[in-house]
């Protein structure tokens, strides 16, 4: 899902819309294309950018185990934010790009960001071969031409005190979220196009404060685009991507508003078959709160999806996983216990 962060370079746009929802995501569509139910996604075209939509992201999170025996987490995200629903040549391009990269170690969380403009070659997405990049950060396809471009990727990023180089190989199919990729985000009908690749096996190296560590693990990729993913009264969201030991997976989110909020979930079988759950079927409950960089954030959760007999709690690898970026939020790896043990990622915005 995610309504992941969408962040946007919106800070720079700093329009009055900022007052609406998190990072201005509750604004009107204003001439931008709006996702419609029933439109079939097609690949590889839909791996590319969709400049007619206001926002878009390519989002990868990885739960890693180091050769040193410690748990790590890695995040790699490229956001696109359009000032106008079109592409123009050179510096005139209204497409703005932002990269977020993070490495979570049990003792410390590293995060950094990059920004750039479209049109001049500093940042963007290309299809043949598939590559999403900003500055020296890249997410590049290693797949043979006959396979889906996302079936094998390499990603790299570097920031203050950390860097990583990871190879990802998908062991399952792409998963369309919501109704064949049409993911509803509020009772009023705000929606996005959204698909995932949750089946990555990962191998590579991370560098923490100059020390190189070999890692292996699993990763989850999301690609989502929209023009007004939040309703005006929605203030933020809590998003969960869980991989259970059984091979089953769960994507779930809660969009918060003044009332009960809006929850949605997709249950993914071990073979990749997805079962969208009706709004409200998933319940999420904060169990413990923590002060992180001046923000009061729930760091332990209880999630229940009775239809699947799911009743689990989460514990973060590092509770201080605050993304100290221009648009800031909490994003980090968690361990899962309960009816379905496993591991995953949690993202919390608007706190």
């Amino acid at each position: 899902m995610n309504v992941r962060v969408l962040l946007l370079l919106l800070l720079m746009m700093a329009t009055p819309a900022l007052a609406q929802g998190f990072a201005g995501l509750g604004g009107d569509a204003q001439g931008f294309a709006v996702p419609e139910r029933g439109v079939a996604l097609s690949f590889p075209q839909d791996h590319d950018a969709h400049p007619a939509y206001r926002i878009e992201w390519w989002y990868l999170t990885a739960n890693l185990k180091g050769a040193d025996g410690q748990d790590y987490g890695a995040q790699w995200t490229l956001f696109r934010s359009a000032l106008a629903p079109e592409e123009r040549p050179g510096w005139q391009s209204p497409q703005l790009w932002m990269g977020h990269a993070a490495l979570t170690a049990p003792q410390r969380h590293y995060s950094t960001e990059r920004v750039g403009r479209g049109g001049v070659g500093q940042a963007g997405v290309t299809l043949a071969p598939f590559s999403a990049s900003i500055d020296d950060w890249n997410m590049t396809s290693r797949a043979p031409v006959s396979d889906d471009a996302l079936s094998a990727l390499s990603i790299n990023a570097a920031g203050d005190g950390f860097s990583y180089n990871l190879n990802l190989d998908a062991k399952g199919p792409l998963v369309l979220q919501g109704d064949h990729g049409y993911s509803v985000k509020s009772a009023q009908g705000q929606a996005s196009f959204y698909y995932s690749q949750p089946f990555y096996e990962v191998a590579g190296t991370i560098t923490v404060d100059g020390k190189e560590i070999a890692v292996t693990g699993q990763a989850w990729f999301d690609h989502e685009w929209s023009s007004q993913p939040l309703a005006k009264d929605q203030t933020g969201w809590d998003w969960f991507s869980f991989r259970f030991a059984s091979g089953e997976k769960l994507m779930g989110f809660r969009l918060r508003d003044a009332g009960d909020g809006f929850t949605s979930a997709t249950w993914i079988a071990a073979d990749g078959t997805s079962e969208p759950q009706p709004p409200g079927a998933l319940t999420v409950t904060p169990l413990a709160w923590s002060d992180v960089k001046g923000h009061r954030v729930p760091v332990q959760w209880k999630l229940a999806l009775p239809a699947k007999g799911l009743d689990v709690t989460t514990v973060p690898v590092n509770a201080d996983a605050w993304m100290d970026t221009q648009v800031s939020y909490w994003e980090g790896p968690v361990r899962i216990a309960g009816t379905h043990p496993g591991q995953g990622y949690v993202e919390m915005t608007g706190y």
Partner: protein
């Protein structure tokens, strides 16, 4: 008791209103001139700082080509994709209407926070509007005023930008400056990632440049501001003379009051405290008035200063003054401190005065001849010091130190010199009245000496600066004739047009001489490189100061370089020295030419060599030789054929007139400060005469008693004042000449890098002499009138009172 004591002390001023007025006026004027100069300098410096701070140049390291040439945008992308956090900047100049603007293109998205003075995301701008054609021009309010009615992209106002500078998006700037895919430099974010590929690998053509702590602009204009500051100090010093004499007088006159106060039991400490409080109040009031006056003076002068700085250095300074509390606060502090220092000696004397000292209100303890001699010896020592500093010192500060020592030394010698002159007058004169006149004048000398010294300073400064300015003008006009021999000067708008214009002119004129140029960094400073063609125009007219015999042949064959005087002086270059050009080329210096009014170093090479070494050099300008009477017609045709704007085809006369206008405005400020300083000196004399007149009764009464009418005495008073002013003027001439020599041979060389021949203008001195006499008459008029109207009873009383 304290309150009553204070009232008693203050009552003195009620009885001596004019003395009070003089004290306040003197202090106020001195403060006014000083703070006016400081305010002007402050405004200019703030403007330079704004210019330097634009896009963080004063805080951020930068990447640029070694010679300052533009770099391709692909280098920027290469650096970003190698991990370097850099942000592109494109800078250039562009005329809109008649206004020349410095266009600064930035990428607001990657711009480091340190470099973002303007919030592009603000509601009235908006990132989208900023980056989408036609874009947005952000500029200062003043610049926007200048552009009223001229067609530009939408304008937004920001006070963070210096005048004449436009901040816009990098893409818009590339369009406006016709530089697609080009950048001027890259700003380095303060914190770079640990793992980046080495610069030498990614962008071998670029060098790291440290933040410009001191901008070229502020370095270039330093001398100009130091000049102003020196004038401000001079005015303040002259003003302090007034304060010193007025305070001294008041203290002497109040001796009886002080004795009485102490006799009735007021403790000495309380008394001194009261007097200090009194001085503080007085000086604060006068300082406040001075600061207000200074603001007015600065507002009046600033447009001229701004015009000079723009003309001389291309430095943009706003024509309106902003209130800077630091400047005005300092002005006030200086006024108070100056007053306390002036009064310190008097307070000390009161502190050490016996309780019942005789209360003799003598105006001034008459200085003995010996004291005068001692003072003169001090003066000579200062003159010698001035000479030594001028000989062996280096730098502008040494120059001004020598200047100050010379002026002060001359001032200290003045009383003895006048005394000797008066003695001579006494010896040469015949008749009792004449002899009494000289003797009495000499007796008054100590009382007037401070005021006369102030007058000497003012007159000498006037004569000296006047001589300097006139010498400069004479040289400058002659130099303009040499430097601008061609009839027309053409500026084309693009390389393409340049070629067409050249071809078109070739068949219609006697010669078309390219004036192509570029700017590079040489010897760690910006240096202009000009390429000129081999032509008789240059061989015959170019203002060479020094040249090898075959200089022009060397230039023509690309074997030699000419340098302007300021570069040669700054780098201590002599003929034959090797000048480092680009591409590892070094060529010998074959000539040095005078280049007045140019703040930058300049070298000249053959045009062929320029094009070879600097392919990016601007090739837009030409000088055209043609018969004088045909020039206007050709200019008209040229404009018509190519649609060139008026300002792109200029005839020789227009450039000369423009250069002279800049020259005049530059020295308009000097002239204004000169007149004001003289005014302060005149007030100093007036104040001294006025206060003396009150106590001269005892000296005049005997002369009156012996038959001199009051009217006659009054005339003699005026005559005395004129005589003293005239003598002072006589002394001022050599001092002024010395000053002019110092300015031309020491200060100008240090400040601007050129030395001018000195010319003497006796008619100017005559005018100054008349001015001095006139001010002396004016100063003496009121006291003389009072004397003439004095009731005989007052004079008789002198003999009745035992004083």
């Amino acid at each position: 008791m304290l309150g009553q004591g204070f009232a008693v002390l203050l009552s003195h001023w009620r009885r001596h209103k004019l003395q009070f007025a003089m004290l306040v006026l003197g202090l106020a004027l001195a403060t006014a001139l000083w703070s006016a100069v400081q305010a002007i300098n402050g405004e200019a410096r703030a403007s330079y700082a704004r210019a330097a701070a634009v896009v963080g140049q004063d805080r951020l390291e930068q990447l640029a080509t070694p010679d300052g040439a533009r770099l391709p945008q692909s280098t920027y992308i290469a650096l970003r994709t190698a991990g370097w956090l850099v942000s592109p900047v494109l800078e250039g100049e562009k005329r809109f209407g008649g206004e020349r603007l410095r266009i600064l293109g930035v990428d607001p998205v990657t711009l480091p926070a340190d470099a973002a003075q303007v919030n592009v995301g603000a509601a009235d701008i908006g990132l989208q509007r900023f980056i989408t054609p036609p874009g947005v021009f952000i500029m200062s309010r003043e610049t926007a005023e200048r552009l009223k009615g001229i067609d530009t992209p939408p304008i937004r106002i920001s006070d963070a930008l210096p005048p004449g500078t436009v901040l816009t998006d990098i893409g818009i700037a590339q369009q406006v400056l016709d530089a697609p895919g080009q950048l001027s430099r890259l700003l380095l974010a303060p914190k770079q990632p640990a793992e980046v590929r080495p610069l030498a690998q990614v962008a071998p053509g670029l060098v790291r440049r440290a933040p410009a702590v001191e901008s070229d602009l502020s370095r270039l204009t330093d001398s100009f501001h130091l000049n102003l500051t020196a004038f401000g100090f001079l005015a303040f010093a002259v003003g302090l003379f007034i304060v010193h004499s007025a305070i001294g007088l008041a203290f002497e006159q109040r001796r009886p009051v002080i004795r009485t106060l102490r006799a009735v039991g007021m403790p000495l400490r309380a008394l001194i405290l009261l007097m200090i409080v009194e001085l503080l109040v007085l000086s604060t009031v006068a300082g406040l008035i001075g600061v207000a006056l200074g603001y007015g003076v600065a507002s009046l002068l600033l447009p001229d200063v701004a015009a000079s700085l723009r003309g001389l250095y291309g430095a943009e300074v706003p024509g309106t003054l902003s209130i800077r509390p630091s400047v005005w606060g300092l002005g006030l502090a200086i006024a108070v401190t100056g007053t306390l220092v002036s009064a310190a000696a008097r307070l000390w004397r009161i502190a050490s005065m016996p309780l019942l000292a005789p209360a003799r209100p003598r105006a001034w303890s008459l200085a003995s001849e010996r004291a005068l001699r001692l003072q003169a010896v001090g003066g000579f020592v200062l003159l010698v010091a001035a000479w030594l500093i001028a000989q062996f010192g280096a730098g502008l500060v040494a120059g001004f130190a020598a200047l100050g020592a010379m002026l002060l030394g001359a001032a200290l010698i003045l009383p003895l010199a006048l005394s000797l002159l008066l003695k001579l007058g006494e010896r040469l004169s015949q008749g009792v009245i004449a002899q009494w006149f000289w003797a009495d004048t000499r007796q008054q000398l100590p009382g007037l000496s401070l005021a006369l010294m102030a007058l000497l300073l003012a007159l000498a400064a006037n004569a000296g600066v006047g001589t300097m300015v006139q010498s400069f003008r004479l040289t400058f006009v002659g130099w303009l004739d040499q430097r601008l021999p061609s009839e027309l000067y053409v500026t084309t708008r693009s390389n393409d047009e340049s070629q067409k214009v050249h071809d078109w002119l070739a068949s219609r004129s006697d010669a078309v001489l390219p004036i192509w140029n570029t700017e590079v960094r040489m010897f760690g400073q910006p240096v202009q490189v000009y390429g000129i063609a081999d032509h008789a125009t240059y061989r015959q007219h170019w203002p060479m100061l020094e040249a090898a015999p075959d200089a022009w042949d060397s230039i023509a064959s690309g074997q030699g370089v000419l340098a302007n005087e300021q570069l040669a002086r700054r780098q201590k270059l002599t003929l034959g020295d090797m000048i480092p050009l680009d591409g590892g080329h070094s060529l010998p210096l074959v000539g040095i030419f005078s280049d007045y009014g140019n703040p930058k170093g300049q070298v000249i090479v053959g045009v062929g060599l320029l094009v070879k070494l600097y392919p990016d050099a601007s090739r837009l300008r030409y000088a055209v030789r043609i018969a004088h009477d045909k020039a206007p017609k050709l200019a008209e045709d040229l404009r018509g054929t190519f649609g060139l704007p008026d300002e792109n085809v200029v005839n020789q006369a227009t450039i000369k007139a423009f250069s002279l206008k800049i020259f005049e405005r530059t020295f308009a400020v000097t002239a204004a400060l000169n007149v004001l300083t003289l005014g302060v000196a005149a007030i100093a004399i007036f104040a001294s005469l006025l206060t003396l007149s009150g106590m001269r009764l005892s000296q005049l009464a005997p002369a009156w008693a012996m038959g001199l009418t009051l009217k006659r005495l009054a005339w003699l008073e005026i005559l005395r004042s004129v005589a003293l002013a005239s003598f002072t003027m006589l002394a001022a001439v050599p001092v002024g000449l010395g000053l002019a020599w110092m300015l031309l041979a020491v200060i100008n060389v240090e400040a601007f890098g050129w030395r001018l021949p000195m010319h003497v203008f006796p008619m100017d001195w005559l005018r100054l002499f008349l001015l001095a006499v006139a001010s002396a008459i004016l100063a003496a008029l009121l006291p003389a009138l009072w004397l003439a109207r004095r009731a005989p009873a007052d004079l008789v009383k002198v003999f009745a009172n035992e004083r």
